[in-house]
């Protein structure tokens, strides 16, 4: 049975209690330098407040502590910017995407930009199940270009790249899908972004012996698998 056809349990509860079907939208948004140091949980709250300011008719979960039904696709590591992040929101009534865009853009905090909104089919999988990889561009300092090129080649050729993060050992290599240094001194990375297997750009930078603290990785794309 195709996974997409199974109604989500939360949808059932919601429509049963309110007599409404729910409407889901996928928003592509950017996170600018103003929000570089806003973490995932805080971004979630910033979205919630943006939607509340815009008076968007959000669907809420039932129960003791109702939560708005919003779901941010893939956490962006602290310090990064993005132009291609994704959030799904669920509403209790239909709103024209043009109107949604306008109202959200007016209510968004500095640094949060809305680039596209599209309705999504009811019952389609959660973003976490769809996202497979993310692409980053990282402008890097101009010294040692040749050395960095050599390190990139070596790493792509390696079978394993053992690293330690927060006291845990793991292999970075399978998380790097592709990596290239452009002549413009931009490092382009495609990293795995599946649940339980997410590559971090700062880890790649460390592996390349670059100090990640002053660098600003910019996410340019989230890659989704076909939903069926």
């Amino acid at each position: 049975m195709p996974r997409g056809k199974i109604p989500q349990p939360e949808d059932k509860v919601d429509s049963a209690s309110s007599g409404l079907t729910s409407y889901r939208y996928r928003i592509t948004f950017g996170k600018g330098r103003e929000l570089r140091f806003t973490g995932h949980l805080d971004l979630h709250r910033a979205w919630e407040r943006t939607l509340r300011r815009a008076r968007i008719p959000l669907a809420y979960s039932e129960g003791y502590n109702p939560r708005p039904k919003i779901n941010i696709g893939a956490a962006l590591p602290l310090g990064c910017t993005s132009e291609a992040d994704l959030i799904d929101i669920q509403l209790i009534q239909e709103v024209e995407t043009a109107e949604l865009t306008e109202r959200l853009a007016a209510a968004a905090p500095p640094g949060l930009t809305i680039s596209a909104i599209a309705p999504i089919a009811e019952g389609s999988p959660k973003l976490q199940k769809l996202i497979t990889s993310s692409e980053y561009v990282i402008p890097i300092p101009d010294e040692n270009q040749k050395q960095i090129q050599a390190r990139i080649r070596a790493q792509l050729a390696a079978d394993k790249l053992p690293r330690v993060r927060r006291g845990k050992e793991y292999d970075l290599r399978p998380l790097i899908e592709d990596m290239i240094l452009l002549d413009s001194l931009e490092l382009r990375l495609r990293l795995a972004a599946r649940s339980g297997a997410t590559g971090r750009p700062d880890e790649v930078l460390l592996a390349l012996e670059l100090d990640p603290i002053p660098l600003v990785p910019h996410r340019v794309l989230l890659i989704l698998r076909d939903s069926d």
């Binding site: 330098r33 103003e34 929000l35 570089r36 140091f37 806003t38 973490g39 949980l41 805080d42 709250r45 910033a46 919630e48 407040r49 943006t50 939607l51 509340r52 300011r53 809420y60 003791y64 109702p66 602290l78 310090g79 209510a107 905090p109 500095p110 640094g111 990640p212 603290i213 002053p214 600003v216």
Partner: protein, 646 residues
């Protein structure tokens, strides 16, 4: 401690440094600014710049309503801009000092030293060393006497400055009382002084003329041989004695376009002040004494403000703030209006400081749909009726138990009970009674709802505060406090019971700072030099540094903490007039010793001193704007102060 020399970094250097370094500190979101609703103005076009500082971390500073109000008022002026400054946490401070980055404002990253005016909020004493550290990080000379014309004018206000003396060496001018009107008058005076280019002494004398402004450098304390204060001498004709507190005659329109933080902060909500002041007259409560008269905001104004703030911020919660919500005249109408109006917008409504009576439970019940189901808080403050009469919070034990029963019956599992130990004439039996009462309440809870019932007892230690009827009484000694806490720790354990207390050393610290005279400034300075800062943070509190500072300066902390002061002693804050007659405070103190109580002063005026002092203001604002009786004709005996600065 290394003093940062005249900063050479400008906003763009600071911005660049932050961009490259913030990932290496904890919670970088504290240091970026750029939140929704922050006010950014062009420095090239705005001639007067104010830095509003809360000398604590961002999460606490952003939760302070006082500075939020001043930020709004100042930024409404076309000729003025106001930006925020908070204390960096220790890791950020280290990084900044190492790179010689001066403290900067969040909005435009200008060094604090480039502002014309630095206004520091000091609501409580544990911020004093942080205020010194903030000046040092800004490269501003700590001592008023070391500052030169180009340095910002440093002012401070907030409840702790009702005794300004401990911080007198570091602050050019204190605001005594409410800041809404006086801040603009001070800005005007400082602007015209800057334009004239005359010395700081001139500025001090001009500021001293403003009603509610205390300029410590224009006063000299003289001490008697026994170390007590003999008198305060005014050194200039502009220096009035006493300095009368400033009030606003009517609460100004509430702020609604709050800055929306991007990280979690202590009070992450819309704060709306529904009432200022309190008519209860609890004798331990400094806020209740110094914030008189009681002024209420109309229900429609509160509702309108919440609506506007919700549109502007999207916050999930509103706090209806006052010292005693139950006493707000139209509390039922307010609660109904707010819960009806915002039901669809999923707004949590916080209603703190409710009286111990079943009506409070009904009020909370109305908010049930829109309130977090945490514990229900009651603050009996003392556990025996005798003691509650002494502190003038005369609630009967029966009433407390009935209210507790109603709370459990309405479905709350947890009751938080707030008490204090160390009240005047407290015996060990009064302390034992705290434990007994908590257990009694728990027993009621168990009867109503079984083993889910919980009682959390928060027991702080009383510090007698200036301008209260208890200002003469000594603070408990360490031995007394420890004995009382030992008893409570022993008694208040077991399933369903939780006990929280304060570190007795921190209580001593609060006591000597709040009751100190001008010599305390030396102690604060030397404690800071020895590393004292973030004193309110438990793990950072450095008692040793304070003891060394007392020793170095040659003062004895117990002179300030444990000495019972005779009622005829000149107190270090006597030249600050909170508009309370000293005979009112003295009488109330003597009444407390006899166990005599006073009713709520909405029922009967006890002539505390507010009305005679502000008769003219009251006459101009008749009716329910104030809860004090009406003033009809001017009394000849009463000399009221002018409405505008001389």
């Amino acid at each position: 401690m290394e003093n940062i020399a005249t900063p050479t970094m400008g906003p763009s250097d600071i911005e660049r440094w932050l961009d490259r370094n913030l990932l290496s500190v904890q919670k970088p979101g504290r240091y970026t600014g750029g939140e929704l609703n922050q006010q950014v103005k062009d420095w090239a076009k705005v001639p007067f710049r104010v830095a509003l500082a809360f000398p604590e971390i961002y999460e606490l500073g952003m939760s302070n309503l006082g500075l939020t109000i001043l930020y709004d008022i100042l930024n409404r002026q076309t000729e003025v801009l106001a930006e925020r400054v908070y204390s960096p946490w220790t890791d950020m401070e280290l990084a900044m000092r190492a790179a010689r980055v001066p403290l900067y404002s969040l909005e435009t990253k200008h060094p604090v030293s480039e502002f014309d005016l630095l206004a520091i909020s000091l609501p409580y004493e544990s911020l004093f060393t942080n205020a010194l550290n903030l000046l040092d990080l800004s490269g501003i000379p700590l001592l008023v006497s070391d500052r030169v014309e180009g340095d910002p004018v440093v002012i401070a206000g907030g409840h702790s400055t009702y005794n300004p003396e401990p911080m007198a060496d570091f602050i050019d001018a204190f605001v005594i009382g409410e800041g809404e009107d006086v801040i603009l008058e001070m800005v005007e005076v400082i602007r015209s002084w800057r334009a004239e280019g005359v010395g700081r002494g001139q500025l001090h004398r001009r500021l001293a003329k403003i009603w509610g402004v205390y300029v410590p450098s224009l006063y000299r304390p003289h001490y008697a041989e026994n170390g007590t204060l003999d008198h305060i001498e005014a050194l200039a004709p502009e220096a009035s004695l006493p300095v009368i507190k400033r009030i606003v005659s009517k609460l100004p329109e509430p702020v609604t376009n709050f800055i929306v933080p991007m990280i979690d902060i202590t009070h992450n909500r819309i704060p709306i002040e529904i009432m200022r002041g309190c008519t209860r007259g609890c004798r331990f409560c400094q806020a209740g004494m110094i914030t008189r008269p009681v002024r209420e905001r109309p229900v429609e104004e509160v509702v309108g403000a919440i609506e506007a703030a919700l549109d502007a911020t999207g916050f999930e919660e509103v706090g209806l703030l006052s010292l005693s919500s139950s006493d707000y005249d139209e509390i039922l109408a307010l609660v109904r209006a707010v819960s009806d109006r915002f039901r669809d917008r999923r707004l949590n409504i916080g209603l703190p400081s409710l009286r111990i009576e079943s009506f409070s439970v009904e009020l909370m019940d109305l908010l049930k749909a829109s309130s977090r189901r945490g514990g229900f808080t009651l603050a009996p403050e003392a556990a025996t009726e005798r003691m509650r009469k002494i502190i003038n919070k005369p609630v009967s034990t029966a009433q407390l138990l009935e209210t507790s029963e109603a709370i459990f019956q309405h479905g709350w599992h947890t009751i938080k009970l707030y008490f204090m130990i160390g009240h005047p004439s407290e015996t060990i039996e009064d302390v034992q009674a705290i434990a007994d009462l908590c257990k009694q309440v728990l027993k009621i809870g168990r009867r109503v709802m079984g083993h889910r019932a919980r009682v959390n007892a928060g027991v702080s230690t009383f510090v007698p505060k200036p301008h209260t009827p208890f200002q003469w009484v000594p603070c408990d000694t360490l031995d007394q406090i420890e004995a009382k806490q030992r008893l409570l720790k022993r008694e208040l354990r077991g399933p369903g019971l939780k006990f929280n207390w304060n570190d007795p050393l921190e209580t001593m610290f609060e006591a000597w700072l709040s009751r100190g005279d001008r010599r305390m400034g030396q102690v604060i300075y030397h404690a800071w030099r020895r590393g004292a800062k973030f004193d309110g943070w438990g793990e950072h509190f450095n008692y040793q540094a304070w003891m060394e500072a007392f020793d170095y300066v040659g003062l004895d902390p117990s002179f300030y903490t444990h000495r019972e002061r005779p009622v005829d002693e000149t107190l270090p804050w006597d030249h600050i007039d909170a508009a309370l007659h000293k005979r009112f405070l003295t009488e109330d103190y003597l009444w407390s010793l006899e166990g005599r109580t006073r009713v709520d002063c909405r029922e009967r005026c006890f002539a505390c001193g507010i009305l005679p002092k502000f008769a003219e203001l009251r006459r101009q604002n008749p009716g329910e704007v104030w809860e004090c009786p009406e003033v009809r004709s001017p009394s000849r005996k009463i000399k009221s102060i002018p409405l505008l600065p001389a």
